[in-house]
C-alpha cells in the first residue's frame, strides 16, 4: 500500500499532464467519432479535463477562485448536455439514427 508521502510527491505538473491527456482524448473523440452521444461524452471529458487543471491550480496556489470556476463549468456542462441530448433526440426521431452528418440539416 503506497504511503501518504508518495501521494505528496505528485506535483502540479502531474495533474496538468493528466488534464492534457484527458483533454486530448476528448478532442480526438469529438473530431473522430460519428455518434453524437459519444461526441457529447467526449465534450464532457474535455470539460472535466479543464476542471481538473482548475482544481489543481487552486490547490497548489491556495486560491479558491479555481474551485468557484469549476462550479460554473459544471453548471454549463449540465445545460450543454441537456440541449445537446435534446437535439440528438430530435435528430434520432427524424432519421432513426444519431450520426453527426445529419446535423448538416440544421442550417437555417
Amino acid at each position: 500500500m503506497p504511503s501518504i508521502e508518495s501521494l505528496n510527491q505528485i506535483g502540479l505538473n502531474h495533474y496538468l499532464a493528466l488534464s492534457a491527456i484527458i483533454f486530448s482524448f476528448g478532442m480526438i473523440g469529438v473530431l473522430m467519432r460519428k455518434n453524437v452521444i459519444v461526441m457529447l461524452m467526449s465534450i464532457e471529458l474535455m470539460l472535466n479535463a479543464v476542471n481538473l487543471s482548475f482544481i489543481a491550480f487552486s490547490n497548489f496556489t491556495a486560491n479558491l477562485n479555481g474551485q468557484i470556476m469549476v462550479f460554473f463549468v459544471m453548471t454549463i456542462a449540465a445545460a450543454e448536455a441537456g440541449v445537446g441530448l435534446a437535439i440528438a433526440v430530435m435528430i434520432y426521431k427524424k432519421f432513426k439514427e444519431i450520426n453527426i452528418r445529419y446535423f448538416e440539416q440544421l442550417r437555417g
Partner: protein
Amino acid sequence: MDQNSLLFAILLGAPLVGFFINGLNFRSHNSKLSGSIATGAAIISFIAAALLVKELIHLPPEARQIKSSFFSWMAVGDFSVDAAFLVDAISAIMILVITGVGSLIHLFSVGYMAHDEKPAKYFAYLNLFLFNMLLLVLGDNLLVMFVGWEGVGLCSYLLIGFWYTDPAKAAAGMKAFITNRIGDAGFLIGIFILFLTFGTVTFTDLLSRLPSVAEVGWTGPITLASLALFIGATGKSAQMPLYVWLPDAMAGPTPVSALIHAATMVTAGVYMIVRLSGLFVLAPNAMLVVACVGAFTALFAATIGLTQWDIKKVLAYSTVSQLGYMFLAAGVGAFGAAMFHLMTHAFFKALMFLGSGSVIHAMHEEQDIRKMGGLRKQMPITHATFFVGWLAIIGFPMLSGFMSKDEILWKSYSSSAGHPLLWFVGVVAAACTSFYMTRLMALTFWGGSRVPKETHPHESPPTMTIPLIVLGILSLVGGWIGIPHVIGALIPGHPENYLEHWLAPALATVPMEEGSSILEFSLMGISVSLAAIAAWFAFDFYVVHPERPKAVAAWFGRFYEAVSNKYWVDEIYQARIIQPIVDGSKALWAYVDVGFVDRLTYFASDVVLGAGGMLRSMQNGRTQQYALYIALGLAITIYWVLVG
C-alpha cells in the same frame, strides 16, 4: 420680396405651375381643360412680362436694367453663381415676344389639338418650354442661360417626337436632339474659355472686364470663345452646317413648329450673340465668320425652299433662311437690326406656321401643296392672314418684314464690318424668298382646286383664327417701331426709329458709315423690285401658266435635281460623318470592348470565382470539420504562445 422679384417669380412661375398641373394629370383627355390651364399660365406670364417692361420704361435709358437674385446656386471657393435674373432692353423684347406669341400659340393649340389623344401632355410640354425659354433669356449669367438652353432643347425633342409611335417622327426628334448636342458642346467650350480668361460667367461682370481693343488673328481667347459660342448658336438656330435638324423637326405638331421652330427657340442663338455683342465686336474675325455663315445659310436655305412640296418644309427652309439674315446682321455689327428682324420674324413666321396648321387641320393632315389649291374660297380668314404674312416676308414696303430686312441689307452694305458682296447675297436670297413664298401662296390658296374629292376643307374654329388675326395685325404694324430714318424723314410727324433708341444703350456698336439717303433708297429699291419681279414670276408660273415650272425645271436639269434633293446634304452627312462614326464605334465595340475590356473583366471575375470556390469548400456544414478548424486554431495559438 420686392415688387420686381415678385414679377419675376410670376413670369417664370406661371408656366412652371401650369407644367406641373398638366404634367401630373398627363393622362387626361380633356383638351379644353388642360388647354385653358396652359393658356392661362401663358397669359399670366405675359401680363407679368408687360408689367416688368413697364417698370423698365420708367427707368432712365442708361440704367434700364432690373436684376433679381433668387438664391445662391453654387459657391465654390471664390467662384459663385446665383440663380439671378436680369431684364434689360434686349431681354425685354424677348420676354414680350415669347410670352405674347406664346400665348397666342397656346390658344391656337386648344383648337388644333382638340382631337388629340394626350392633350394634357402636350400642353405640359408647351408650358415647360415657355419656362425654359424665359430662363434662357432672363438668365443674368451664362450658366442660368445654359440651363434654359438645354431645357428648350429637351422640350423641342419631346415635342418633335410627340407622336412617337411613328418611327420617322421619333427619329426626327432624336436628330434634333443630337444635332443640338453638337452645338451645345461648342457653347459649353465657349463658356469654359470665357471663365478661364475672365474668371466670371455673369454678363455684366464679363462685359466690364473685356479689354478695350479688338483682338487680331484667330487664336486669341476672345475670338476662340466667340467662335465656340457661335457653334452653339448654329446648332440651336439651325445655321450651316448644323441646320439639318430643323426641316425634320416639322414632324411635330404645327403649333410647336410655330412656337419653337420659328418664333422663339431657334432665335436663341441670335439672342445670345446680341446679348454678348460687347464680346463679339472685339473679335472681328469671328464676326466675319458669323456674317458669312449667316449670308450663305440665307441663300442656301432659300434655294432649297424653291423646290419643296411640303407646306411646312417650305416654311422650315424659309425659317433657316431668315435666321441666316439675323446672323448676317449680327455679323456686320447691326445687333439692333438682328433683334428687330428676330421680332418681326416671330410675328410673321408664327402667323404663317399657324396658317399652315389651319390649312393642314382643314385638309385632314395633308401637307403636300400639290394636293391643295384654291383654298382662298373655303378658308377666307386663314387666307387673308396668310396673305399679310406673305406680304411681310417678301418685303412689301412698310410691312414689318420690309422694315427689318431692309435695315439688315442696308447695314450689311454700309457697316464697316460689312461688304457689298454680303448685301448682294442677301438680296438674291430675298428674291428667292419672294419666289418660293409666292409659289406657296399660289399653290395653296390661289388657282384651281386640286383637293381630292373626299376632303372637304373648312374654315378653322375661332380659337384658331383669333391668334391668326392678332398675329396678322402685328405683322402689319409691328415694324413701325423701327422705321428707318430715311423713310421716317418723309412721313409727316417724322417718327423715329424707336427700337434703335431703345436698344442702343444695351448694345455694342461698330462704326457705321453715314451713307447718303439716295444710296440707301436705291439699294432699297433694288431689293424691293427684285423681290417684286420674283413674286411676279412665281405668280405667272404657278397661277397663269401652271405647265411652265416643269419646263423650267427641265431646263435647269442637274441643278434642279440637286436643289430639290436639298443638295444631298443629309446624304453626305450620312455617308461622310454618321456612317464612319457608326463603323468606328462598331470596330471599337468588336475589338476594344469585346476583345480587351470584356476579357479583362472576365479574368478578374474568374479569379474571384476560383478563389471563392476554394474557400467555399471550407464552409460545407460539417460540424466536425468546423471543430477541427477550432482545434487547429488552438494548436497554432498554443504553438505561437509557447514557441514563437
